[in-house]
Symmetry: C2
Subunit: 300 residues, 2 copies
Amino acid sequence: MILTVTLNAALDVTYQVPGVDWDGVNRVSEVHRRAGGKGVNVARVLAALGREVLVTGLAGGPTGRAIERDLRAAGLPSALCAIAADSRATLAVSERARTALFNEPGPEVTTDELRNFMTTYEALLATAQAVVISGSLPRGVPPSTYARLAAIAAERGVPAIVDADGEPLRHAPEGRPSVVKPNAEELARAVPGGTPAEGAEELRGRGAEAVVVSMGADGLLAVTGEGTFTARMPYTVRGNPTGAGDSLVAGLALGLVESAPWPDTLRRAAALGAAAVAAPVAGDFDPAVYADIHPKIVIT
Amino acid sequence: MILTVTLNAALDVTYQVPGVDWDGVNRVSEVHRRAGGKGVNVARVLAALGREVLVTGLAGGPTGRAIERDLRAAGLPSALCAIAADSRATLAVSERARTALFNEPGPEVTTDELRNFMTTYEALLATAQAVVISGSLPRGVPPSTYARLAAIAAERGVPAIVDADGEPLRHAPEGRPSVVKPNAEELARAVPGGTPAEGAEELRGRGAEAVVVSMGADGLLAVTGEGTFTARMPYTVRGNPTGAGDSLVAGLALGLVESAPWPDTLRRAAALGAAAVAAPVAGDFDPAVYADIHPKIVIT
């Protein structure tokens, strides 16, 4: 089983509104509600590829229950720990040509609730082949938490991938994770100045076994114990980049579980990322795009 | 107890977003979630005036549970009947100067669920001094339903107020309600051509005991068995007109329960409507505005 951690699980709501009146009343023609958060998206991709997954993290209030209900409906096993505060929603208002995204501030987590999650997390690691730790932290959760989760996994011999931004990313290497996956902008914020390769080396120097930098249409850069690799995309896939990073991380998790060589892992991860851009909803990927682009990705 | 019926109960969500990027990502600075729907707003006003109220109607899914939770938190007693589909949310995105409102399509109600509600409604009427039937109908509920609810109340000697639009408004007089309360536009749609007074007379002719037409800053027109009255506002209150009609209806319900003379009822209803405009949220009213404007309203 691959465990995915989503401490700030969300209910992703999409409103289809043809021709929005931004100062009036709008009838929403279609509403979609779906469990989200980066770890949930990773689990969706892995499940679609036939892998056993388990979604864990924190969820509370009516929005938390809606998240759990959607996970059940999607057939994604979950073991989310309860919090008292209401989980966050994200809203995308989609007009024909443009989309406005609204991110709610999210819940405040108490020390007891986080401690309770830690106990659950340790128990779930017992049957995990790999763990993916990704997304934002809710308020009240210290920025060192991802490093701590990675360290606990490392002690148990479970490879961990951390996909984070800001302070949680800066702290992540301290937990000696198998992979840290920032995108180029996140890396530049965490390690200012220097090239992506230098930034990645810096994170490795601080404890990360490997650093994979996603660079959108420019592919991937991986700095690993086996050397430095790049994955170059043969063409640009147009669509919705939201969730592409999660699909890519799912590919990295597969590589860890299968102990695949880095070039194979990177090719699959890059192809899954591109295939996710072609799918309209985060957590989905287009199998046809995946099949087409996978063999054409050049690893050097 | 005054019973309020909200067949299409809603969760009213407000996002405060200073400076919206309508084609990008926005951080929501404040989120408010509150049970809504016109009957709920009426109940809030009545409860604030110290009246015993009971909220009934239909609610389902995670959104329905959030509605019930908020009613409990607000101390508003409720007996909502369960439906399988998810209740609707409404979303107001508030920038500094303007607000975009998004109305979800709402749930589909089954025949069995409506029948179950009818049974509950009859039982609740036993202790009701008056019933307020207001707002939109969810899909699957016939447009004659408000007439039917009013007729059942009439049989039991419980005075009913219907506040509706479109087909439900056109059907309402068939149930011989004590009061039908359209605004001027709703009345013009239901009875096209002619003055508001003629339209109101027409609805009385079809069975309504009294018709009160709300005309915003122009006050009220009431065509009743005791004659025709107008309530003229001494000045225009600026603010948020959403919920003003519900506050006004609360005033009409008080008049029914107290068997007050029409001029007193209309003065109070018009003052409550104006005081609601001065409050930022539907279901609230400004007591200072109420106290100031109430004695200045001219009834003729």
